[in-house]
């Protein structure tokens, strides 16, 4: 993959949107960047971290998003252009600080908050439109419509931030952040970063003051005045553009990924002469005059945006403030059900909306081809459920959890949260997770369930957390549980990486984002200091892990912790191989006659274990198997052979 700091102005690179954003920050002369990983935003800090030492900038993976934003704000106060990046769920975590930094204002240098939204929740626990935060807190907001803009906009937002003395937001969605396209590189400035926290001169005072939100209403009023100035600037921004006929039959108003879909749809329908596209890049405050002048071009207006009716609502509001004689538009969008206020947009969704409004026929392909497709037997389109990778420690951990709860026999259950182990809601984790919400929520729930014994509640409670999640949000929940004497077991699935988002380091790992030795923080020491009893086991030792957990479940009081520790297979597999060769002994595999109900190939859910219907026995797919050896302990007949091979 290309490094983002190639000094080749004018060269075209194939960047994912996030790399383009990182490049934009670099071209702006950024000095400080921080984030907590979250799809679709992780590659911004990831790609900046790779070149941080070379470019003399500071880049960190922070413990969570709120701290990331606070740390970046410090950079701005000390005179460095600073960036904080996060996914929309992380913005919820950071929002408490965000609300106040809007009021306090920033330092001499720009502060930009980048949020990655994930329409369709491809890799998220919820769908959320973070543009609403810009409106909620009065923050200047832009959204790129392609990869080039992702870079250019990020760069420009630093200038805007400094000019206005306000934090600015860049919002991007999955299909820009995580798609790839051409980006023409600009100049990389040579910046000598010098940081100092000067006496803070507040615009409201003639004396140096503290950075503070009070007097709140007055500062709120000042932010509104800033927003009026921003609006004026946005009126003439090149990030907004209208393309199409002077008097279109239909005006598409769009932003973000919707822009490219609109162009694709108009192109596919050959409607260039009938349909115009107003693409907005500066989203809050909206350039009201520009919008109104475009509304006057036509009667019919269709909004294409992900995910909430953000433009739709605001522009319909503007329209209602226009004089009755100039108010002639018919609006289509989410309120009229021409597009959805959930899920992601596609070119097909835009085509569908346009053809419905203009009453046009469109056929994607020949009817005869569609007919042919009907003859595909149902069995040919096997569904692929997500599962843990072959060799994943989580599969072994959940196998132990499942068996311990079964042996315990009191109808115990698991509450989980966000990470690869979220898949334990499904077959991958044997449907063990009974509740799942947000980062750390499983342990918060457990600390509540753990108080219910006084109402006759007698089921054992297990919460699970990843190692990165433990630092991010589980610690306060554990403190709550221990302090209030809640009765539950916290299982920390420590795979020594933030695996879900691409193996970023976290406070428990050896290195910082920039590859420097970190002060490694011990999960067990923290838990013990809080006052919890801690056991540590290797999940690949199924027998002892199951027994440890079973013993802990039988203890009646207090919050207990068991750390199931094994490095993520995708991290470990790059460094070393397991010392095993796996094979099936066909003489020992009894197949359907075994009575195990195909424990290995059906229940254990490792993609490398297959059922061979011809032989009536289990088979190992040698292309996929990572030779972790765990399944040898799952087979009751000892038919799976784990042969030790010398390293």
């Amino acid at each position: 993959m290309a490094l983002i700091d190639i000094n080749a102005p004018g060269k075209n690179e194939l960047f994912i949107g996030n790399e383009a954003i990182a490049r934009g920050a670099l071209e702006a002369g950024i000095g400080f960047a921080s984030a907590y990983p979250g799809t679709p935003s992780s590659e911004i800090i990831g790609s900046l971290a790779e070149i941080a030492n070379k470019q003399h900038i500071y880049v960190e993976w922070s413990v969570n998003e709120k701290v990331a934003l606070e740390a970046a704000a410090a950079g701005s106060y000390a005179g460095l252009r600073s960036l904080a990046a996060m996914k929309m769920a992380g913005l919820n975590v950071a929002s408490d600080f965000l609300a106040s930094v809007v009021l306090t204002g920033i330092g001499k240098k720009g502060l930009v908050l980048m949020t990655g939204d994930d329409p369709e929740a491809h890799s998220s626990g919820e769908e959320e439109d973070s543009r609403n935060f810009a409106r909620l807190f009065d923050i200047p907001l832009c959204e790129p419509g392609d990869f080039q803009e992702a870079k250019d906009m990020m760069k420009w937002l630093f200038e805007l931030s400094e000019e206005m003395g306000s934090i600015c937001m860049l919002r991007s969605v999955t299909r820009i952040a995580h798609a790839r396209g051409n980006v023409k590189l600009g100049e990389l400035p040579e910046v000598e970063h010098k940081a100092r926290f000067p006496n803070y001169m507040d615009p409201m005072s003639i004396m140096p003051t503290s950075i503070m939100t009070v007097p709140t209403s007055i500062r709120h009023a000042i932010q509104h005045m800033k927003m009026d100035k921003v609006r004026e600037k946005f009126e003439s921004s090149p990030f907004n553009q209208y393309a199409g006929p002077e008097k279109p039959d239909l005006l598409l108003v769009t932003c973000g990924s919707g822009w490219l879909y609109c162009q694709d749809a108009v192109n596919a329908l050959k409607l260039e002469k009938r349909v115009g596209i107003l693409k907005l890049g500066t989203l809050w405050p909206l350039p009201e005059k520009l919008v109104k002048s475009c509304l006057s071009k036509t009667d019919k207006v269709l909004f294409i945006e992900e995910t909430d009716p953000f433009l739709e609502g605001a522009i319909m509001e503007y329209s209602s403030s226009m004089s009755p004689e100039s108010r002639h538009n018919i609006f289509y969008g989410k309120h009229s059900r021409h597009t959805n206020a959930f899920g992601e947009l596609t070119p097909d969704a835009v085509i569908k909306a346009i053809t419905a409004i203009l009453d046009i026929k469109y056929q994607a392909r020949d009817a005869a081809y569609d007919k042919k497709l009907e003859s595909i037997p149902k069995g040919h389109m096997i569904e692929r459920m997500l599962t843990f990778c072959p060799g994943c420690p989580h599969r072994a951990s959940y196998w132990a959890i499942k068996n311990a709860l079964m042996m315990d026999g009191r109808n115990g259950f698991v509450t989980g949260d966000i990470g690869c182990y979220s898949m334990a809601l499904g077959p991958a984790g044997f449907f063990m997770n009974r509740a799942q919400h947000s980062m750390g929520s499983g342990t918060g729930l457990a600390s509540g369930f753990g108080q219910l014994w006084r109402f006759g509640f007698d089921q054992p409670i297990i919460s699970v957390s990843g190692d990165s999640t433990f630092f991010h949000a589980v610690m306060p929940a554990l403190v709550n549980g221990v302090h209030n004497k809640a009765n539950f077991v916290l299982v920390i699935l420590d795979n020594s990486a933030t695996a879900m988002t691409g193996f970023q380091p976290h406070p428990g790992t050896e290195l910082t984002a920039m590859g420097e030795p970190a002060q490694q923080i011990s999960i067990e020491n923290i838990c013990r200091a809080i006052g919890a009893k801690v056991d540590i086991c290797d999940p690949f030792d199924l027998k002892s892990t199951t027994q440890t957990l079973l013993d802990l479940l039988e203890e009646k009081q207090g919050a207990r912790v068991v750390i199931m520790r094994r490095t993520c297979e995708l991290v470990r597999g790059k460094k070393e191989k397991h010392p095993y060769k796996m094979k099936i002994d066909p003489a020992k595999c009894l197949g359907e006659d075994c009575g195990c109900n195909r424990l290995c190939s059906r229940v254990f859910c490792c993609p490398a274990l297959l059922w061979d219907p011809v032989e009536g026995k289990t088979r190992i797919d040698e292309v996929i198997c990572n030779e972790c050896g765990v399944c040898a302990d799952v087979c009751p007949e000892g038919a799976i052979i784990r042969e030790e091979v010398p390293a």
Partner: protein
């Protein structure tokens, strides 16, 4: 830059999470960007390393940035790293002028009920041929295993794609991308690329 047969040319790369789908589209896209084309790539992820169905959409244009998603029924080329996933893509994006390159090595799905199993491979390949204008069956995984690691199947498939001439993929440009992306394994990847080209040549 060469004249494109149409603009954009739509390529769908499909497979199962963990196979290397993203790498394939990135190699192809990078070679074409370096040669001056506009490339847009949209990827499925989330399922990307976890055994789910994955696909990349690659649009190749001489002069314009297109959206990262191909519309229903609009693929020109389907590069299938796995048979069932190839058929799945034909169902969504196929049409009567699509060319399909398929690696016939199955990857099974986890089989909860025990009733599933993998469909008959021969019937599957027949179906794929029936739904494509032209089909290249490329035994990429088998050849890659002979080279010592199934992962080389990806580069073999890229070689096959280049050899079909459906995209303006230049061998030299691909070699340059290999040098940049796999500096520690240049020779073996170039060998895999050549192997893929031969496999299409022989039919």
């Amino acid at each position: 830059m060469k004249q494109l047969s149409k603009d954009p040319i739509n390529l769908v790369v499909s497979g199962v999470g963990g196979q290397g789908n993203v790498m394939v589209s990135l190699v192809v896209g990078s070679a074409l960007v370096n040669d001056g084309y506009f490339i847009t790539i949209g990827e499925t992820y989330g399922a990307s390393q976890r055994g789910g169905s994955v696909m990349s959409h690659v649009k190749v244009s001489a002069g314009k940035q297109y959206s990262p998603l191909i519309a229903m029924g609009q693929a020109d080329i389907i590069l299938g790293m796995e048979p069932v996933e190839t058929l799945r893509m034909l169902k969504q994006f196929g049409n009567d002028r699509v060319t399909t390159i398929v690696n016939p090595r199955p990857i099974h799905a986890i089989d909860l009920t025990g009733a599933g199993g993998y469909p008959d491979l021969k019937a599957l390949l027949e179906q794929i041929k029936d739904l494509s204008l032209k089909t290249y069956v490329v035994n990429a995984t088998d050849e890659a295993q002979k080279m010592g690691n199934p992962i080389f199947a990806n580069m073999i498939l890229i070689g096959a794609l280049a050899k079909t001439g459906l995209l303006p993929l230049d061998e030299k440009s691909l070699d340059n991308v290999i040098k940049q992306m796999f500096p520690k394994a240049v020779d073996i990847n170039m060998k895999a690329l050549k192997k893929g080209m031969e496999l299409v040549d022989g039919r």
